[in-house]
Symmetry: C2
Subunit: 299 residues, 2 copies
């Protein structure tokens, strides 16, 4: 099953997939590289950079058209009993580009077939339930592409860093997440879990850029600096979460995200490779097309 049209190109899933088992060594993974993107070797560095950026933008647009066609097939198959659906999970530190990825990458899809949910700090009603409850209610239906801007992984990050729940509780959550994701994968959910990996210095630049533009102030909260001060704790919490929960059924991909164009290109490719492997098919009609045509023409 699955088409294999990219024999000339390396699989970005293979390049970015976190190995299963063992903690993730995030510090060893660069945030400013562009794995799998064939930008060629130009002589002038600046020129190369500019050209690569333009090619990436054009490449992402071309990927977008292919993604849109595959999404339509997934959606069409879903109307005829195919239970499969896709779930893109986006995690990353503040300013890592989760919102930008939704806007640019998901912007290629037909919005009617997408189920997008941004998870913020849980509400009082949500906290009265198990942490997976609110996530469960936001899952894509058959044929849909779900997009989580933050997710259930927040519940093994923030509580751990800030000591909001006892250690046995967040330790238990890794197992609960793995069991829950396995159950959904068995039911037809294909996970594309993406960690947008940015560097400490890059985050500073992005926060400063937000401060420089009053129109971006609404995206900024002084709390962002409080969280930034806990950077090493968050990296440790991420390393543990990604390591414990990168399973065969639902692997994590680590996308170097200091460059926005590469981030968009890489996430587009991850989705494309995944959808091509799923290879959803248009259902055949359950009616007699010739007879129906005759009926219309005989009106």
């Amino acid at each position: 099953m699955g088409t294999q049209p990219h024999t000339d190109q390396p699989s970005v899933r293979d390049l970015l997939r976190l190995p299963v088992g063992g903690p993730a060594d995030l510090a060893a993974l660069p945030t400013d590289t562009t794995p799998g993107f064939d930008g060629g070797k130009a002589e002038e560095k600046e020129r190369e950079k500019k050209e690569r950026k333009e090619r990436a933008a054009a490449g992402t647009a071309a990927l977008g058209r292919r993604l849109a066609r595959l999404q339509e097939r997934l959606y069409a198959a879903g109307t005829a009993g195919d239970r499969r659906r896709l779930l893109l999970v986006l995690q990353g530190m503040d300013t890592s580009g989760k919102g930008g990825t939704v806007k640019h990458v998901v912007g290629h899809f037909n919005p009617a077939g997408c189920r997008i949910r941004a998870f913020k700090a849980p509400t009082e009603a949500e906290r009265a339930h198990h942490f997976l409850w609110r996530v469960d209610r936001s899952l894509p239906r058959a044929g849909e592409v779900g997009i989580f801007d933050r997710s259930h992984y927040e519940d093994v990050l923030v509580p751990r860093v800030h000591g909001l729940v006892p250690e046995p509780v967040w330790q238990r959550r890794y197992r609960e997440i793995n069991a829950w994701e396995q159950m959904l994968a068995d039911d037809g959910v294909t996970f594309v879990k993406v960690f947008l990996h940015i560097g400490f210095d890059e985050q500073r630049e992005r926060l400063l850029a937000r401060l420089d533009r009053p129109r971006k102030h609404w995206k900024f909260s002084p709390d962002d600096l409080t969280e930034r001060a806990r950077w090493p704790d968050y990296q440790e919490a991420y390393a543990a979460a990604l390591g414990h929960c990168s399973s065969a059924a639902a692997p994590w991909y680590v996308v170097p995200a200091d460059r926005k164009w590469y981030r968009n290109w890489a996430v587009s490719r991850l989705l494309l490779e995944t959808l091509e492997q799923l290879d959803p098919q248009y259902p055949s009609g359950t009616f007699d097309a010739e007879r129906t045509r005759a009926r219309l023409l005989a009106e």
Copy 2:
């Protein structure tokens, strides 16, 4: 309040808005015209047609960028207590282009700020509630753009045409809809209710086109012909619904929809004029930007 940047162009809202009160005379409203679209007067009909189409596509793309900027302002304002939100309601006969409008027009927006819902025949759980229940649960939150592909108006169309409920029930529903929409308008919902008006012959062409392409068969159901046979009844039911429920708080717009490019352009314009009048503003930050910048630079 509201910017007025279109003094040179007629308001498409004014051109397409259905008058308040009295039944709608749908038969008198053409489905193949392009009100408000200044396509100029070329000598050759074919050439004019092609050019107009190209200009419209380019125009819709330009409108799209302006729509995206206004949507971001609406969303940003919503994060700071502005309760306003937009609700696009799409109604029309089969093949009138509701899905295409969502794909093309809503595709300009940041999907993260959209709440899209397609209403199909009510499920058993939905039928166990008042007909407005399922619609209520799908409303946009503050700052969002809601999009309904079909809506509560189905409940004054299908039951009336097929006699599923007694006349006093569907008669009562017009009043219930008006009261409900008024309540929401008072709470900050701006309605853009659009009837995509296609002709009987145009529907035949579109159904035949679907039959000609096996990849489109999943969009087709033999039931579509059964409903088409009730065309006059549906036109009557639409005329009553649009007439009874075109209020000052939530007017109906009738968009001639035989031409897809005009439909996309007109709906884009309706949304643009509406958002420009709402004129949402970026909130100012509630923090000291200078001090925050200093804190970041002193790390």
